[in-house]
């Protein structure tokens, strides 16, 4: 085992105890990145990473990120380093400043070893629309890892780095975490600055990230959370110590399952795995209830998300429609077909003849959805559900799903409710089905990260799976 296989916390202890050095770790991470066969990287930063190691003399060795190799999704601006959001339209774009979250990570001593691939401009859930082609699942290369934070999900699953930055607009970190067997976390909307994050749909966009366990997710939030005046949507609610209640007893916590979403899952294996663990949570003292939400409201989750996100991106991205980003000066030919379709749908929804019936109605529906979930979260500590109705599918299986089925509309796409309401939400591994991982999603009310991470750390302990890495035999099997 290499030290790089350790979690953020354990790796930090190894550095403090001089058992591992940042230089060794960085070289190992770069080596692993170059060996990647799942198409995880836009850019591997050999020279820049080693330069950052040399600058560590001025950093605080006690910071948990000191000397830790990390990767960054390519929709975060990185000073003097090409940032494309996996779009041909942005090829050659070199930002002249770092995103706030990148600044915080660098100041803490993190070593950025690569920019990761993604669905183009973060639009998509398959890891297939970016200009570098499809990203595959390290557990089984014939399957998808999911998106849009696909490259970061691969990097964490393969043990290339113990922390991977992503963004989450609908479920773009939490679904790939389920498919890849990692922890995927997005805090409350506005909790982490989005300054320097290329926007997809600003009312839904969250900075999010992957770690190997819940402790690391909480420790990372201690660094990344906090007001930033450069982001007008940044929250001024005081940050807390997010490690304060990690591993506090679960006894008396009220967990709730939404019946209609759970019942829409067709895989009995997924249902059984979830219910077996629900019994374990009860044995540990949790009080678990099943409640209903109007199924018509739940069926409207995905279309509401689709209309709002497509409309917002159409409002936000005309700036990209500029000849300076287009080598051929023929408009935005550089976009892939799926992204052009999103722009057309967004434009259609915003058209003066359709706006009230589509965009405004979707915004009204969002209100009703958030009200329904808020009422539940006011009564319970967290909503728990399988993060997906199945293990990672192949691209073909994904394309053949019935997009009007309850399973697709509910169980496959429900997690966007946390983006609608800005609720903190985390996916952790739940178990394995046919040797492939699947996750459980836990969501709580806004600004209740301390409570959420406390519950998640307990569920992680009870489930008994953390620090998962793709074993060598898994990748060789492919």
């Amino acid at each position: 085992m290499s030290y790089l296989d350790l979690s953020l916390k354990d790796l930090h202890e190894a550095i403090i105890n001089n058992e591992a050095t940042p230089l060794e770790l960085t070289k190992e991470a770069l080596k692993r990145a170059h060996e990647d066969t799942n198409n995880a990287f836009e850019l591997i930063l050999d020279k820049e990473a080693l330069e950052q190691v040399n600058e560590l003399v001025n950093k605080d060795k006690n910071n948990i990120f000191y000397g830790i190799p990390i990767v960054i999704k390519d929709n975060f601006l990185t000073k003097d380093i090409e940032t494309t959001a996996s779009s041909n339209v942005l090829n050659g774009f070199i930002p002249n400043y770092d995103a706030e979250v990148v600044t915080r990570l660098k100041e803490a001593g993190a070593i950025i070893i690569a920019k990761t691939t993604m669905d183009e401009l973060a639009m998509g859930g398959k890891g297939s629309t970016g200009h570098k082609g499809k990203q595959t699942n390290p557990w089984d290369k014939s399957r998808m890892i999911g998106g849009s934070s696909s490259g970061s999900a691969i990097a964490i699953s393969k043990g290339i780095t113990p922390f991977a930055l992503g963004s989450d607009t609908g479920d773009s970190v939490r679904k790939p975490a389920s498919y890849g067997g990692s922890v995927g976390f997005k805090p409350t909307w506005g909790r982490i600055s989005r300054y320097g994050l290329l926007p997809f749909a600003p009312s839904l966009d969250h900075v999010a990230y992957f770690t190997r366990n819940v402790y690391d997710a909480a420790a990372s939030l201690n660094l990344l959370a906090g007001y930033d005046h450069k982001d007008l949507m940044s929250s001024s609610v005081s940050k807390e110590d997010y490690l304060a209640k990690v591993n506090e007893p679960l006894y008396g916590k009220r967990l709730v399952v939404i019946k209609e979403i759970f019942n829409s899952i067709t895989s009995q294996k997924v249902k059984d795995l979830f219910l077996v663990n629900i019994e374990k949570f009860k044995e540990a003292g949790a009080i678990v209830s099943f409640v209903s939400i109007d199924i018509n409201l739940l069926r409207a989750l995905f279309p509401t998300y689709f209309v709002i996100s497509s409309s917002e991106t159409t409002i936000n991205n005309p700036a990209l429609n500029d000849v300076r980003f287009n080598k051929n000066k023929e408009g935005i030919e550089g976009f892939s077909t799926p992204i052009k379709k999103r722009f057309i749908i967004g434009s259609f929804s915003l058209d003066k003849d359709n706006r009230d019936e589509l965009f405004i109605r979707a915004q009204k529906c969002r209100r009703l959805i958030v009200d329904a979930f808020t009422r539940i979260l006011d009564e319970y500590d967290a909503i728990v559900l399988p993060a997906a109705p199945r293990v990672a599918p192949s691209f073909k299986e994904r394309d053949e799903l019935d997009h009007l089925s309850d399973e697709f509309l509910l169980a496959d796409n429900y997690m966007c409710y946390a983006n609608f309401g800005g609720f903190p939400s985390i996916t952790i591994p739940l178990g394995f089905i046919d040797s492939l991982p699947i996750g459980i999603n836990i969501t709580s009310k806004a600004f209740s990260e301390v409570n959420l991470l406390s519950i998640a750390s307990n569920l992680e302990r009870i489930i008994g799976i953390k620090d998962l890495l793709v074993k060598e035999e898994s990748s060789e099997r492919n």
Binding site: W189, M233, P303, G331, T337, F348, Q363, C365, R367, A446
Partner: protein, 79 residues
């Protein structure tokens, strides 16, 4: 609401200064038939007409003008 046709979609695309191939338009018209059925599901939600549109999860900040940062300004000769 406008009826979706190849011509309507082309008009929208051109407004955004791009175009897509004929076969892509045909595919999008077919795809929109499914999207339209999904969007119809929104209409089945009760209480929609009286709901207030939600534009963001919540008001996070009252500041509307951000403070300037003092940063080093490059000299002309440095450009």
């Amino acid at each position: 609401m406008k009826v979706v046709s190849k011509e309507v979609l082309r008009e929208l695309a051109l407004k955004m200064n791009f175009d897509i191939k004929d076969e892509e338009y045909n595919h999008l018209v077919d795809e929109y038939a499914v999207i339209h059925q999904q969007i119809e599901l929104i209409s089945k939600v009760s209480g929609l007409d009286n709901a207030i549109p939600m534009v963001a999860p919540f008001d996070v900040n009252k500041e509307v003008i951000k403070e300037d940062d003092n940063i080093k300004i490059l000299e002309i000769k440095e450009l």
